[in-house]
């Protein structure tokens, strides 16, 4: 048996070496750029920030990059705030940044959950900053009720885009037969809209296309894989096509088809326009996808308020379709994928509403 003191020194030494190890780990994180980094030049006194769920998915990573590019173009200080799916953290990070900048903050936020938008807007207005929201907000919260601080709300309309991509799917198998569909988390607004778009497209075929089954796979690739496997057992060659409410689930379904030697035979469509999906479109395994433009939303959510604070526009005098608007989704199919990849959408920081396609609609 060791004496007490000896044992204690032993533990302390180990603890110290362990802490060193942990410091090394977090150091690796720092180098990788998970933490906000200030821009090099600094010409404006306004601080710009984008707030999003995480940097681990392509959509939000590009959204963050869009903000960074714009900030660089005007030489402003830029911060990325990550909520990690935690509403409390999302709100308190913005509050902290408002305090640090004395309210001289322009923030472009994709709220973790709809109710967060109200709290964030109120905090920003109180501090005298400016805010643009993305995707999620309560239906009765409008930018024009918080003039001038709540500059705009941006989103993408899931209904017409899902309907268009569903039609691309029907076209890929000749417009007649059964399909299966994977949905997102059913309480999410985009999941509801995309399902509605699919239902519309099916209804317009007058019974030629039949929905064999619909299952929510919660935006999860693995879940989509397992459900697709079960569908192959249940419906076999009745399945003429697969509709997935996002590309991730579409990829999961595609791999399940591949395991059963059906990849390329049964077409799949997805939504989001991630790289893997574009490649699958080129390979003829996906019939198509809808490409959003997160670079544009990431940049414009800062460019529009910046135009207001620099006096280029007066946001309070802009029409409602410039305060709550949809961006443009691009339908990418086998015919258009080469052109899309050769000439990806460009973002012109001065063309504030060039890609806006109409005022946000409330369907409920």
């Amino acid at each position: 048996m060791q004496s007490k003191t000896a044992a204690r020194t032993h533990t302390q030494l180990n603890r110290r070496s362990m802490l060193k190890g942990l410091a090394g780990l977090s150091g690796a994180g720092l180098l990788g750029g998970t933490f906000p980094m200030p821009a090099i030049a600094q010409e404006t006194t306004w601080t710009l920030a984008n707030s999003m769920r995480s940097l681990a998915n392509p959509y939000h990573a590009t959204f963050a990059k869009g903000g960074e590019e714009f900030a660089k173009s005007i030489g402003a200080k830029y911060e990325m705030l990550v909520t990690e799916g935690n509403s409390e953290k999302g709100v308190s990070d913005i509050k902290a940044l408002l305090q640090r900048t004395g309210g001289k903050l322009i923030v472009n936020v994709d709220p973790n959950d709809s109710p967060d938008a109200r709290v964030i807007v109120e905090e920003v207005k109180k501090a005298g900053g400016f805010v643009v929201t993305q995707w999620n907000k309560p239906d009765d919260l409008h930018p024009w009720d918080f003039d001038p601080n709540y500059v705009a709300h941006m989103s993408f309309d899931g209904v017409p885009n899902a309907e268009a991509i569903a039609n691309a799917l029907f076209g890929a198998f000749g417009g007649e037969g059964g399909i299966v569909a994977l949905g997102g988390i059913l309480s999410n607004v985009p999941a509801i809209e995309r399902k509605l778009g699919l239902d519309n497209a099916i209804a317009k075929t007058n019974g030629k296309v039949k929905l064999l089954d619909f299952q929510p796979a919660d935006w999860n690739e693995q879940k989509a894989f397992d459900i697709m496997q079960a569908w192959i057992t249940r419906f076999g060659d009745q399945i003429k096509g697969v509709f997935a409410a996002n590309d991730g689930m579409g990829m999961g379904a595609l791999e399940a088809l591949r395991q059963n030697s059906l990849a390329g035979t049964v077409p799949v469509v997805g939504i989001d326009g991630i790289d893997a999906a574009l490649t699958a479109v080129e390979a003829g395994e996906f019939a198509g996808t809808v490409a959003w433009d997160p670079m544009w939303t990431g940049a414009m959510g800062l460019a529009i308020p910046y135009a207001h604070v620099t006096g280029k526009i007066d946001i309070t005098k802009e029409p409602k379709e410039h305060r709550e608007f949809y961006g443009t989704g691009v339908i990418v199919t086998k015919d258009t994928v080469a052109a899309y990849k050769a000439n990806p959408p460009k973002t012109d920081f001065n063309d504030l509403w060039g890609k806006a396609t109409g005022q946000v609609q409330y369907r409920s």
Binding site: N14, T34, A56, P58, Q222, R234
Partner: protein
């Protein structure tokens, strides 16, 4: 290992050991009655395929739970190793082309993460719950940082063969999972570590008095679990032909559920890797069967929840419990 309270209980105890298997067989019969396709060879192979990765992950997690600890780092380690292995084989981001040599590298990284789990847990005396949660987050964070939110696509057909290849009509992933199971079974039945795991899980104080190197065993078992998760990460990357930080989403819940539903007690000392195999199949068959039977999606979640409670209630040996917390 356990003392029988009274002979009248022994019959019940015998039944309890077989409860998870009985649940599995009952499920199969029930689903087969609804949809005969369930019992087809094609579906059987699909079930094996869906079970492959969960089986590999459960082999690691079972040992940890048998010691009475818990491991929440599954998703972090799987994501990190999947991302690393994707970057080491032919891919669209880096120029490495290690081919199958990337597999031991990824497994070793999983093992190191597990080792860190074990060392921090034992030396700093932090509860395994918090330690593994922290290391899991670190794994996810590093995976995110390496790729910056992007997805790396694998362009190595040999590597993808680990999932897509077939021997005797059965996917390679299933054979690999079978090998992992045999290794785990050997460790459990034929090695001292296997016996020590049970001793620690049943009563750590007694195990210490008996001269079992409790700390060393704990560290070793966490490292071993990490190796299995590393293999799981490799299989996940091979299955989807890509690596990204979210690839392991949902794996933790399935793993722990399968271990517990299989009859391995969270309190430690009771259960085995064989139980976990049955547990994995209960979870996989249920998910497959509910889609086959066309059960409403939200009823499915409820059924899953009920089944977990039922399986745990059936398998629990209450005579050993003095306190329930």
């Amino acid at each position: 290992m356990q003392t029988r309270k009274a002979t009248s209980f022994s019959y019940l105890e015998q039944w309890r050991r077989w409860a998870p298997l009985a649940v599995l067989i009952a499920l199969c019969i029930l689903i087969g009655l609804f949809n005969p396709n369930f019992l087809s060879t094609g579906n059987f192979i699909r079930l094996l395929n869906s079970a492959a990765i969960p089986v590999v992950l459960c082999m690691g997690a079972t040992f940890i739970i048998l010691m009475g600890s818990i491991d929440l780092s599954v998703e972090g380690i799987v994501a990190l190793t999947a991302v690393i292995v994707s970057l080491l084989v032919a891919n669209d981001i880096t120029t490495y082309k290690l081919g199958l040599f990337a597999v031991p590298v990824a497994m070793a990284i999983g093992g190191i993460m597990g080792l860190v789990n074990g060392v921090v847990h034992v030396k700093l005396k932090t509860p395994s719950f918090m330690t593994t949660l922290g290391i899991g987050f670190a794994g996810l964070g590093i995976a995110t940082a390496i790729l910056g939110g992007l997805t790396v696509r694998i362009a190595d057909p040999t590597f993808r063969y680990l999932s897509l290849g077939r021997i005797l009509g059965i996917p390679m992933a299933v054979w690999i999972a079978l090998a992992a199971f045999l290794v785990a079974l050997t460790i459990q039945q034929r090695t001292r570590i296997g016996a020590w795991i049970y001793a620690i899980g049943t009563d750590e104080v007694t195990a210490r008095f008996a001269g079992i190197p409790v700390e060393k065993t704990r560290i070793l078992v966490f490292a071993l679990a990490g190796l299995f998760y590393g293999l799981g990460g490799v299989l996940a990357a091979a299955q989807f032909g890509q690596g990204h930080a979210l690839i392991a989403q949902g794996r933790l819940f399935t793993t722990i559920t399968a271990v517990v539903v299989g009859g391995t007690a969270l309190s430690g000392g009771v259960g085995s890797v064989v139980n976990s195999i049955i547990g994995v199949f209960i979870v996989v068959v249920l998910a497959n069967g509910m889609v086959l039977m066309g059960i409403e999606p939200y009823v499915q979640q409820g059924v899953q929840g009920l089944l977990i409670i039922a399986a745990v209630a059936l398998a629990l040996d209450r005579s050993r419990l003095s306190v329930v917390k």
